[in-house]
Symmetry: C2
Subunit: 312 residues, 2 copies
């Protein structure tokens, strides 16, 4: 059994994972503007209660796996940069904290890299050693496995900044400091702005909604009901994402890409669109690349955090 924590931007998932199966899990708000240490202490308290309910102790687990957004040094077990979340995460001594509070060995990594490992070992990526994971959520997370090893690069950012390829020179300002990133052109966090700034918004049925909190599911539902603004924004996003997949295939040459995140509540619609763009724009025979939905869209973080303990 592994105790697993997936520190998200808006909520934290935690749970207990046994051989790739989530035995128990729950969530709590992230409070990413607060103190990470206090938040982690709270999560461990929740995990202890969860253990009591399962009639085990936290100390009997094999280890504690933690995923978080941003750049993570998965050797020194440190967060290197968070893009504005949990200011005290950088230089926080995760291993020391885990040892003091739980006595457990700790492994940690970036959340998308963890999700990739979870899908590779227990999900839609099984048996494929050149694998990519793309998670379309509030932001766009990516991770890459090359020849059975997670790409980390020389500053631990290898493979995980796919949301920040520059796709539109002079385009929208991104949270990362660049302009025209994939994320700032089409992602969950820019969706309200894409909708509001669209010429057709004035005639859209989405005007009645709180656009600031609109997600892909609402957008896709409005598009399905024929709303012209929703259709146009959906088409824009699908095109940008499909073209990004073409770039990723050209750059990494994976055998399979696992697509996850909130967008994948409508996997067939999304994958059909992506496959069409890839078939249209891909180099030569590279359209042999599999595009598949994540097998554990809701639990990939916890399964991935646990999978860190099975990496050589």
């Amino acid at each position: 059994m592994i105790a697993a924590i997936d520190l998200g931007g808006t909520r934290t998932k935690y749970g207990l994972v046994d051989d790739g199966k989530v035995v128990a899990s729950s969530t709590c708000p992230s409070d990413a503007r607060g103190s990470l240490e206090r938040h982690l202490d709270e999560v461990v308290a929740h995990l202890r209660i969860m253990c009591v309910e399962l009639q085990i102790t936290l100390e009997s687990c094999e280890g504690l796996g933690v995923l978080c957004t941003g750049l993570v040094d998965n050797r020194a077990m440190k967060v290197l940069s968070t893009n504005g979340k949990y200011d005290d995460a950088v230089d926080f001594h995760f291993s020391e904290w885990a040892r003091e509070r739980t006595g457990l060995p700790l492994r940690m990594d970036n959340d998308a890299r963890g999700a990739l490992l979870g899908e590779w070992r227990y999900g839609a990526g099984r048996g494929v050693d050149d694998l990519m994971m793309v998670v379309f959520g509030t932001g766009i997370g990516t991770a890459v496995l090359i020849d059975g090893k997670p790409l980390t690069g020389s500053h631990f950012s290898g493979g995980i900044l796919g949301g920040h390829i520059l796709v539109n020179s002079g385009g929208r300002q991104c949270t990362c400091g660049a302009v025209g990133c994939l994320e700032s052109e089409a992602s969950g966090w820019v969706l309200p702005e894409l909708i509001r700034s669209h010429a057709l918004y004035l005639e859209s049925s989405m005007q009645g909604l709180d656009v600031d909190t609109i997600g892909f599911q609402e957008l896709l539902a409005h598009a399905a009901s024929g709303d012209a603004c929703a259709c146009a924004v959906q088409e824009h996003c699908f095109r940008m994402w499909g073209e990004a997949l073409v770039s990723f295939i050209h750059l990494y040459d994976p055998q399979r890409i696992v697509v996850g995140g909130g967008l994948m509540n409508s996997p067939e619609l999304v994958l059909a669109s992506f496959r069409k763009t890839v078939a249209k724009f891909i180099w030569g025979d590279l359209d042999q690349v599999d595009l598949v939905a994540a097998q554990h869209p809701n639990d990939s973080g916890l399964i991935g955090a646990a999978a860190l303990f099975y990496l050589k």
Copy 2:
């Protein structure tokens, strides 16, 4: 001594390389619309004459290294696709041909991947195991070394299609079939079109030239002399290329990028522009990435073809 052949789109270089030093070299026109087999036979005849001048025999060499554009299966020693060059290259049995004609063992790879290996072993990439090479010539060639191993991916295209990341949705038609590729937005082959279609071309001193054959050096020279059209096209290209380097750093996280190709006759001007764009747009601390000029801009192909024999 290694006999080396670098099959380019417009001319073929060939020569003899000893421990990373080009002992003798020459070039001949490529005739990429003709037969590859006939062309290779001619090149071998030239190499034999070169050997006579050095008082050695071709058969006394350790091997024959061949680089070419397009996708190359560097295990089966076959060309997989050429993007319109040498129609008979695909399925041509290079190893058999080399054994029959020269008796030498053959190694082959994509030209940019070879150049990367040459710079890694004998040039500006020495001592760095997370390395990228970007060659700005007629097209844009890229290659990537990860943890001391060339990235090949699952279809031998890993790392070499960096010229075909999609940077401008709905942009210019590329030779590869996509639209808005880095190469079709800014590269040697699209340069005449970029110049001719620019609004300032009508007032440009470049009107007196044969624009179809204009290269980066002429463009940079006209820009340096204050020609407004040349300045604008140079600025456009530099910006697109600098932004592509940001994407490459975000995706591969190399420690160093070696920049080569015809563009690098003015290395300081080019690198200063690239460094500025990278510093502006890069994620967090990743501007620690070295951007350096290739050490063997003219011989990287031959040195690289020879370096194939030193790869584990």
